[in-house]
Symmetry: C2
Subunit: 161 residues, 2 copies
DNA sequence: GGCAATTGCTTCAGGTCTCAACGAATGTCT
DNA sequence: AGACATTCGTTGAGACCTGAAGCAATTGCC
């Protein structure tokens, strides 16, 4: 048995979490930069906008801004601006509820729906392309193991709300 | 054998990449939001600043802004602003090279070095804490499998530079 | 040497992001 | 009913981020 290997294993084993975190960050950054670039080039959209539209796409009746905020993990203040811009170019429609005049509901316009469908199709193609060299079995395992990481992180947030 | 399960496997197998991508995004976002929050609360720093300082910490002689930019995956224009702010509060020092007056080198100040060491220690603790419920073997496998994803993505960027 | 291409950083416009504070509408409690 | 608290969205300051354009220093080619 190689002592040096044992030693380095012991050393590096200690920082396993940190390494994984850095790789997680790097991988996500790399991919999202590429996706951003393509969304911009081919559709004049941004990733947060795409994300928001994706949520609205699966809810025909629209969503309250608060719901949108928590589903996209985007702060309230930020949702306001996003929705404003998307409404300005006719992709979505915003209206107040008569019952409760505090809440605003956003939903896709007809134009927005077709617009999004085009983007979604391309988006899925890009993702597949980028992960083309990863075996299906690996993808599947990654999905489940990443789930564990997410669960663990979720349970260790400060001041759970 | 359960036909329904086969059917759903066939269905969902098609979107495996997309699902993984979404989970990757969600996990990273969740964790980085938490790290941001804590860095801000306890050190008055931001994640990109921490990232930049980490690069400088391991290079005593400092780095050119271009190097910093590529190592942190942050655009040039953005590095300028980051470095300006960090220089303003005395964390880093910026100086032009006499040989080539185009290049600027940034390095940690003494104050910055101690400051960063405190942050790094806390940062590593937080990460470990968040991943506490994930088994070491899983961490190790994730590291290698995520590496595959990163490699694959890297080879499928548009207009490779 | 002289001039074009390249390199390295800065600047700018527009979008995203967080946190904190605000204002209006609704709920709750006495 | 009246006072207080909560919920929902907006606003504002400051930082980050991208892509593109700008400018200065350096290199390379003739």
């Amino acid at each position: 048995m190689d002592l040096e290997l044992v030693a380095s294993d012991a050393q590096e084993g200690k920082k396993q979490e940190l390494k994984l975190w850095l790789r997680l960050l790097a991988t996500t950054k790399l991919m999202s930069q590429e996706i951003r670039r393509r969304l911009r080039r081919e559709f004049g959209a941004t990733l947060p906008q795409f994300d928001l539209l994706a949520q609205l796409y699966r809810e025909k009746d629209g969503l309250r801004l608060g719901e949108l905020s928590s589903r996209t993990m985007v702060t309230n203040g930020n949702v306001t601006g996003l929705v404003e811009r998307l409404e300005a170019d006719g992709t979505i429609i915003r209206e107040r509820l008569p019952d409760d005049k505090r809440v605003t509901v956003a939903r896709l316009s007809e134009k927005g729906r077709t617009y999004f469908e085009g983007m979604a199709e391309a988006h899925e193609r890009w993702i597949k392309e980028m992960m083309a060299e990863v075996e299906p079995a690996v993808l599947k395992r990654l999905l489940s193991e990443l789930g564990q990481v997410k669960e663990s992180a979720q349970r260790h947030l400060s001041e759970e709300d």
